[in-house]
């Protein structure tokens, strides 16, 4: 990381042109997003089925969640989506230091999100609101099937959280490359691909928030 000189991107040997390379990368990342949707989707389908089977359990479960924290995290992720998109915008314009700052902001949002998540998790685990077999909450009377709600809560937010973490690692990698001036108007494919992934993580949270925190 000693030199901060712009390094022009070299098209991989098996592509004829840069356009072909970009097209391939974007098609690849969209297919990957599709697999992500189906993977999360399995959980959503399970959620929908059990919510219809046991509506009372899900209603009672959601009262244990603090919608304010959920809303805060929603805002954080939305803002991070903006900064991610702006980072690409500045790269397209050739303003690479602004692009890098936007990436830093995105990473910061990721940290805030995980911090809030940590507060929520530790509070619940402290109360004994753990998934499935580890459920030990006894302070107030609860429905018999309540652990099932928390199984879904932890599986869905856990899988989502792990994706946020993965996204943060990728963004950190982008920051390093951005400092080395790898990106510019002619080449910003990694920014775009990681960006798409990050937006998808945001997209999933857009659904998770009302489903888990606001069910009536």
């Amino acid at each position: 990381m000693s030199t901060v000189e712009a390094k022009p991107h070299k098209v991989a040997h098996h592509f004829d042109s840069a356009e072909q390379e970009v097209a391939a990368s974007k098609l690849g990342i969209w297919l990957f997003l599709c697999t992500e949707i189906l993977m999360f989707g399995g959980l959503f389908v399970g959620y929908a089925i059990y919510k219809r089977m046991y509506p009372e359990i899900f209603l009672q479960g959601s009262t244990f969640l603090d919608w304010k924290l959920g809303a805060l995290n929603t805002v954080v992720l939305l803002v991070s989506s903006l900064t991610m998109a702006l980072s690409i915008y500045y790269a397209q314009k050739g303003q690479s230091s602004k692009s890098t700052s936007c990436l830093w902001l995105t990473l910061l949002c990721g940290f805030i999100f995980m911090g809030v998540k940590y507060i929520e998790y530790s509070h619940k685990l402290h109360l004994g609101l753990a998934p499935g077999a580890f459920f030990s909450y006894t302070e107030t009377a609860t429905l018999q099937g309540l652990p099932l709600y928390f199984s879904f809560y932890y599986c869905m937010t856990g899988l989502h959280g792990s994706h946020v973490l993965a996204g943060m690692v990728l963004i950190f990698w982008l920051i390093i490359r951005s400092h080395k001036k790898h990106f510019g108007p002619s080449y910003y494919t990694p920014l775009e691909c990681v960006g798409l992934f990050w937006h998808l993580v945001d997209l999933i949270w857009i659904y998770l928030f009302p489903l888990l925190y606001l069910v009536e």
């Binding site: 974007k26 098609l27 969209w30 997003l33 959503f44 919608w67 998109a85 960006g195 998808l200």
Partner: protein, 100 residues
């Protein structure tokens, strides 16, 4: 090179974010009220509007290769398929009553 790619204007991004934030406030407000069976539908409707905004502008679907929305929707489609079949199964199972 890829400089011929469409650059979304700066203020479009800001408008989209504002819309998303407004919708977030809206969904929280709506959740305080009771619309009976429509509760879930409204919540999911708002979420879908938000998701569409993210897809179209942040994820550039509006300006990009038309194959990408097809891929994305294919994923959603098969989710709907697995959901419908499973629900159809569970709802049409005939419960056997115990007689002992």
């Amino acid at each position: 090179m890829s400089s011929n790619h469409h650059i979304v204007p700066f203020n479009v991004y800001i408008k989209v974010l504002s819309a998303l934030l407004v919708l977030t406030v809206f969904t929280v407000l709506v959740a305080q009220m009771d619309f009976g069976v429509f509760n879930v539908l409204i919540a999911m409707g708002i979420a879908t509007i938000k998701a569409t905004l993210v897809l179209l502008f942040f994820m550039h679907l509006k300006y990009d290769n038309k194959l990408f929305p097809v891929i994305f929707l294919a994923g959603v489609f098969f989710l709907v398929v697995i959901f419908l079949f499973c629900e159809f199964d569970i709802m049409t199972r005939i419960p056997e009553s115990s007689v002992l």
